[in-house]
Every structure is written in C-alpha cells, then in structure tokens.
C-alpha cells in the first residue's frame, strides 16, 4: 500500500488542543442541500467520482463525503454559510498538485473544486495588473501576459498544470524567486468568502497600499485555512526583451558555492540560480547527454534576463566572476540552446527514480551562506542511514530540494528514510533555516511545525485563524 490511509504522519502522534466538533457524516438533509445548490455534475457523491479528490501529489489519501463544483461566488457564499452552521469541514481544491497533502480531506466533509471558476477576467496594460479566477492555470495567465508584452514572473515547477488559486493558497515559489520573489510578492488584492458566507475584499489594483494590516499577504500561503479565494489581482511587469542561460561545472561542491558567491558580489542578480550536487549530475547523465565536463562534481545553472545589451553584459560579467572559482566547464545558451540547458534541470526528477523507485522530496531552506554545509551534512545523513540522498535546487534562495531515495516495498528502507527525513528537518532548523521553503507543511510535515515555530507564534496563528474561522471548518487537520 503506497498511501498513508490513516493520516497520522508516519511514526508520530499528533494531539489537537480542544478538538473542534464536526459533523460526523453526510445526512440526507446535507445531501439535499448540496445537490440543490450544485445541480447535475456540480455535486459528486459516488465513491468512484470522489476518489480523484481524495489524494494530491503527496500521495496521502482520505475520502471526502462530497465534492462540489461552484461556478460563481454566490454558490460559495451559500455553501460556507451552510457549512459553518453544520460544522462541515471544507477543503478548497484546485488541481491537487501540492506535495504535502494540504488538499487531502482528512476529516471527511466537502471538497470544493475551483476548476469551474477559471476565467482570466482582465489583463490591463495601463494598470499592469491581471484579474483572474482561482481555477486559471498559471501558465495560461503567463501566456496571456506575454501576448501583451507583460510578465507574471512566479514560476513553480508545476506552472503549466497548477493554478493561480493553488499557487496563492500555498504561496508557490519557483526557479526565478531569487530575482522576482514568490507568489506572495505579486498578489495585490483578493476576493475571498469566509466561513459564514461573508465576502472579504482585500487590497486592490494600486501598486502601493500601506493602510492597515496586510490581510492580502496573510491569505497568501494560508493553505485554505482562512477562507476560499474567489478572485485574485496580481501585479505584472514589462516582459524582459531576452534572456541567456549558463551551465557551469565545478570540480567540487565548495568551489561551486564560491562561484555563486562571486557572481552575486560582482553585482549580477540572476533571474535563476540553481545548483546540482554530484549525485544529481550522475543521475541526469544516466538519462541523456549533459553539457558538463566529465569531471564536474557540482554544477550551477544561471539565467539572466533583461534588454539584449544588458543580458550580453551580464553574461560577460557573470563568466568573469566565475573564473575566480576555476570552473571545469562553462556552457552559454541563447535562444534554442537555452532550452537544452534547462532540459537538464527538468530531467532531475524522473532521473532520480533510476536510482531508487521512491523518494521523500523535502524542500528545506537555509541561509544562503550555509548551503554547502547543509548539502554535505544531508549526504552524511544519507550515508548514516544507508541511503542515497540527492541535493539540488534554488541556490539563490538557499532552498534545497533534498531527495531521500529509497524503495517503499522494503520496510526497513522506509524506516531508514523516515529517520533521514527527521534528521534533515532538524538540520535545517539548526542552521537557522526552515523545514519548507515552498511546499508547506500540510500533513507530511505537520508534526515538525512545533519544532520550528515557538509556542507564542503558534498561539498567535491559532488566534488569528479563529477570527476568520471560529468553528475551524476550513481545511482542518493540517500543520501551518
């Protein structure tokens, strides 16, 4: 069985302080309400139909009692008014591509699929904003912006198949976060429906706004625990004229870190700055040709963007800065050749499965200066547990994807992989970092939250949630 059907994190126990009282099942009156308000295909009640909504990319699973598909805000207002009075757990869901189980309906209740609300309402060349519904695929918005010579920069790996609603809910990051930030930095306004059915509008189309507390930013990354977002206003910028990418090989990890440091010190702020350790390089070499020197034991992957002249100058500056760290190979890609370089990065995930059939893909983030130590110690943890550990990711943000490879059909390997995962999380906290830079905590990291956040922080967050959701019906059972 590949799924944790009981949603207690592996090998751990969780306790809830004053567990809220929820509806215990769907009564016939509940069913009547849902089928009345979401007629036809708008409401799913069969096990077969609902199975798709029971899991997400974390592979954790729990069956909901019903799935509804609103097509407008009015339906959501009615739903949340009803759900609050019935103490019915509510789980907002877009395409279920999250990695930590945030979309999994752990306490039964109703999954709200937002895919029917998928219109791009406005892409404004004067205000430089776009207004979208939550079910819009992020890549589709980006394409609509490019048509008008504008850019929406956040680009999580799932950009072509995840949605703005999901990205807002999880505060998705991506390759270009080092220069452009994460989803939170681009959301200017939200329309949301709160438990009880009240509509809340925060922020707007103005690029600056310092009046009051920033409730918009509070909502971004709240994982559907405060309300359901129904409309999103995002900031746009002019589309950069061009870009260039550089793949650099180094003889060891420390040299690669020196190289990255030299690039930033030289004054270049790359749009992306990725790294790969030696195990990752070995893995991608098994899948295809990699434009890296044979003796490369670590690699950096840069992208710079801007005007044609600016990009030319930045590439020169970057390569000169890298020379101080004696790279073993430098491959510059422009136009179609740029794609070849990024294909290497995209191959990592499937290539990893050539090593072992399963992986824990953790996304710790540490201060940038401690990345080398974090990677070396992650390898050490792997050795101690008798497992292969791949490290790659967004060096520019100190966000390391630590992949703990194992075979889930071998019970002993699973135990060792869980031990390695615990050790990696503790390492991140010890280095002053975080257990998650991008994926969130959801189910799979819920039990570690209290090791990172203080009691005061958790207490404040709980109080804030109670203001929005006094009966705690929104996405219950998840870590912050």
């Amino acid at each position: 069985m590949r799924f944790c059907l009981l949603l207690t994190p592996r090998g751990r126990s969780r306790t809830f302080r004053s567990m809220p009282i929820y509806a215990e099942s769907l009564t016939s009156a509940h069913r009547l309400f849902l089928t009345d308000h979401f007629p036809g295909d708008g409401c799913l009640l069969s096990q077969e139909g609902m199975a798709a909504f029971s899991a997400d990319a974390s592979q954790e699973r729990a069956m909901p009692w019903a799935v509804v598909r609103p097509e407008n805000r009015g339906q959501i207002e009615e739903l949340l008014k009803w759900a609050d009075s019935e103490r019915m757990p509510i789980y907002g869901r877009a395409r279920g591509t999250g990695r930590v189980g945030n979309a999994v309906p752990t306490h039964g209740g109703v999954v709200v699929s937002m895919l029917g609300m998928n219109r791009i309402l406005d892409v404004d060349e004067n205000d430089f904003v776009a207004v979208v519904q939550p079910g819009v695929v992020t890549g589709d918005l980006q394409a609509a912006c490019i048509d008008r010579k504008m850019m929406y920069p956040p680009d999580p790996a799932s950009v072509k198949y995840s949605t703005l609603g999901g990205n807002v809910s999880t505060c998705a990051g991506g390759l270009k976060a080092v220069k452009y930030g994460v989803t939170r930095d681009w959301v200017m306004g939200l329309e949301s429906v709160l438990p009880g059915g009240k509509v809340l509008r925060t922020g707007g189309r103005s690029h600056k706004n310092v009046v009051g507390l920033d409730l918009t930013r509070l909502f971004v990354g709240s994982n559907g625990k405060l309300g359901l977002v129904t409309e999103i206003i995002v900031k746009l910028i002019p589309l950069p004229e061009t870009s260039a990418s550089v793949l650099v090989g180094f003889s060891d990890l420390r040299s690669s870190m020196d190289g990255a440091r030299a690039v930033f010190r030289s004054g270049v702020l790359p749009a992306a700055c990725e790294f790969m350790d030696k195990v990752t390089i070995q893995a991608v070499r098994q899948v295809g040709d990699v434009p890296l020197a044979a003796n490369a034991q670590a690699a950096l992957l840069f992208m710079v963007d801007g005007s044609e002249a600016g990009v030319e100058a930045e590439v020169r500056q970057l390569v000169t800065a890298l020379n101080e760290s004696s790279p073993v190979s430098v491959e510059i890609g422009r136009g179609k050749d740029e794609e070849k370089i990024w294909a290497v990065r995209r191959t990592i995930s499937p290539a990893a499965f050539r090593i072992r059939p399963n992986k824990f893909a953790e996304d710790i983030s540490v201060p940038r200066g401690t990345v080398a130590e974090a990677v070396e110690r992650a390898h050490q943890i792997g050795e101690e547990c008798g497992l292969i550990v791949l490290c790659f990711g967004h060096l520019g943000d100190g966000n390391i994807h630590v992949n703990i490879m194992h075979d889930a059909s071998v019970p002993d390997e699973v135990v060792r992989a869980c031990r390695a995962k615990d050790a990696v999380f503790r390492l991140a906290i010890e280095l002053g970092g975080t257990i998650s830079g991008e994926h969130g905590t959801g189910l799979t990291k819920a039990s570690f939250v209290s090791e990172q956040l203080s009691q005061e922080e958790i207490g404040l967050m709980t109080s804030i949630k109670q203001v929005f959701d006094p009966n705690s019906i929104m996405n219950p059972g998840k870590g912050w």
Binding site: L44, F53, A55, T97, L115, G135, S158, F353
Partner: protein, 374 residues
C-alpha cells in the same frame, strides 16, 4: 502499471478532456489512480462504475507522452473496456441505436452500418464517423512544381488507411500522384485496418490480428519503406511493438514508416491564384513531435497559414463519442475556439478531418492537406 503513477499531475497539462470540462475525475491522473485503487482493494469501489468512469477517455495519448513514469492511461482504459463483460454488447447496441442520430444520414459511414456485429469492421467505422462524405472536397490550390530526386527509383509500400480506401478515394489518388512525381514505385500491399480504434476500444484480439497481417504484408514485400498520410494510422503502426519476434525487427519496422509529407520536404510547390484566403492547421493528437505535415504546410503556404492548434483535440474520441457525445462536444468546441473562422482548416489525420468537417462553422471548409494538392 497504474501503481507507477506518482500523482504528480504533469498529465493534467495536456488532457483536452480535463481542459474542456474542468472535471478532475475525468483527467488521466484520476483514471490511473482509480485503476490502482481497484487493484489494491476491490471492495473499495465498484468495478463496473470504475470502468464506466475510467472509460471516459478520448484516447489521445497526450498524457502517456508526458508521463515521467511511463504510465499508459489510454492502455489502462482499453484494458478496463476489455475486462468489462458487457462492453462489446453495449458498444454495438449503442452504435446501432445512436449512429444515425449522431452522424448525418447522408454520410457513407451511416450507410455502411452493418446489421450484425462484426468487430473486424468496427475499426474502419470508427474512422468514418461524423458525417464524413466522399463529396467534392476542397478546391485544390497547391501546385507541385519540382520534385527532388532523393527517392527516385525506390520501391515503397503505401499504407493508405481505411478512410482513403473506403471513403476518400481522392486522397489515395493524390498520394499516388505525389509518389509518382517523386519517382517512387508503389509496391502492391493488401493491408488491413491499422487497428488503432479497435485497440483503444478494448478489442485486443481483433487489433492484434490486424497488426500481424500488416506486418506480414511488409515482411513479404521485403521490409521496404512504408508511406502513410494519416497521423493516427502512423501512430498505431508505430505501436506494434508486441507483435515482433525481436526488438531489432521492430526498430527496422519503425524506421520504415515514412509520413508522405516528410518525403515532400525538398519538393517545391506554388500557390495558385484561386487559393483560399486564410488557412488553419489542426495538429492531430497522435502526430509525432516532428509533425512533418505542419512543416510541409508551413513551408508551402507561408503567411497563408494563420493559426495552428497545439494542445486542442478535435473531440473525435473514438468509442467515448458513442457513450458520452456531450463531453466530446465540449472538447470539440475548445478546438474551434482556437481555430477561429479561417477559410480552410487542414489536418493530417482522417479522424480529425471527419470530426472537424462535421462540426465546422458554415463558412469554414475542412479537409486533409492532400485535398489542396492540384
């Protein structure tokens, strides 16, 4: 196979059915997961309902192409159809009941509906749906000017496919003229249907028999190159892997498959004065990455080619169209939204040509690209 799905969701990017309906349970990930759940615990879900739900698949194979784990959702769906005890009976009953309602009574396909179920004829019928008529077709406006000598003197087989053989005779005639211009001698070959439609419908025995017969024709002809002009046939023949004795012969088979448009790469054409104005191209789901049909049209038509679909499916959908035409129609509407209203829509797949012709706005004409060759 379904157990290999890691639920990453990458397939959600390419599924035309999910895009058109917004119903996550119809996406490929949901189908792979359902099959897994059914295999893992048969008491959890009703097998029959799973088969019904998972059977809602257009069979476009786009999800298989992007899956890092090699999960073949259309293959899983075909297996479910095969395993469903009443599927054949249901399929034929539905065909007889609805075919005349679904497709124009004037179409050749409707006239060819047999009185009794004959599975070996079902494949060809799948390709003749949607009101396909053997009528006058498009007005030719692309005139061959110079044929290269690259293939002159070579002997090749021509796999014309059911549509050209039974309905669209002019496609076959034009293909033969082009091959003649290229100096290629066409060897005789009594091919069967490619079997693609039958395979995805779950008729494994029948489709295997067709595949073996086709391979036999190729072997007996001395394993020459085989020319095709239907993207679905090409894709289907390219997937005959299980029917060869060794991988070496299969590789040789794959290398022998030549899209007609690829042979015309070095030929030159001129556009006649009576040419249609704006031309759109529909990229079939089953076309390979190189898409030599598009390259050919792009080179030959230049600026006249104003739009090309990339991720949209025509909504033909094989057996899914029989059971749930409304869902297939939603996919078709997405496709027309992208195509807009050009004067002519060209494609390189017989099923796409049929489906788009039957659903085109009044002022838009649709055909295989062979129809514009003068």
């Amino acid at each position: 196979m379904s157990g290999d799905c890691i639920l990453c969701g990458k397939c959600l990017e390419v599924c035309p059915l999910l895009r058109a309906t917004g119903r996550e349970e119809l996406g490929p990930r949901a189908k792979a997961d359902l099959c897994f759940l059914l295999g893992d615990d048969e008491t959890l879900l009703s097998g029959e309902d799973v088969a019904k739900l998972a059977g809602l698949c257009l069979g476009c194979h786009r999800c298989k192409a992007v899956c890092s784990q090699g999960v073949d959702v259309p293959g899983l769906v075909a297996a479910l159809r095969l395993a469903h005890p009443d599927f054949k009976g249901w399929l034929w009953k539905t065909w007889l009941t609805h075919a005349r309602e679904l497709w124009s009574s004037t179409s050749l396909a409707a006239k060819l509906i047999p009185k009794n179920f004959q599975s070996e004829k079902f494949g060809p019928f799948l390709k003749m749906l949607a009101g396909l008529k053997g009528g006058p077709g498009l007005e030719p406006f692309l005139i061959p000017e110079i044929f290269p000598d690259t293939y002159r003197g070579e002997r090749m087989l021509l796999f014309a496919g059911c549509t050209a053989n039974y309905v669209q005779g002019r496609w076959l005639v034009t293909a033969l003229r082009l091959l003649d211009g290229l100096g290629i001698e066409v060897l005789p070959g009594d091919f069967k249907c490619c079997g693609g439609g039958l395979s995805s419908a779950g008729f494994d025995v029948e489709s295997e028999a067709m595949a073996c017969k086709n391979i036999d024709v190729w072997r007996k002809a001395g394993k020459p190159k085989m020319v095709l002009f239907c993207a679905s046939c090409l894709s289907s023949l390219g997937g005959y892997e299980n029917y060869f004795e060794d991988s070496e012969e299969f590789i040789s088979w794959q290398r022998s498959l030549m899209p007609l448009s690829a042979l015309l790469r070095e030929a030159t054409f001129v556009v006649s004065e009576k040419a249609s104005g704006k031309v759109a191209y529909h990229r079939p789901c089953h076309v390979d990455k190189a898409d030599s049909d598009y390259m050919f049209l792009h080179n030959a038509l230049g600026n006249r080619l104003i739009v090309s679909t990339s991720r949209e499916c025509c909504g033909f959908g094989g057996v899914m169209r029989l059971g749930t035409p409304a869902l297939a129609d939603a996919v078709n509407r997405d496709c027309w939204e992208k195509l807009g209203t050009p004067d002519v829509v060209l494609t390189g797949c017989s099923a796409c040509a049929a489906q788009l012709a039957a659903t085109a706005p009044n002022e838009v004409r649709v055909g295989h690209w062979l129809e514009i060759i003068a």
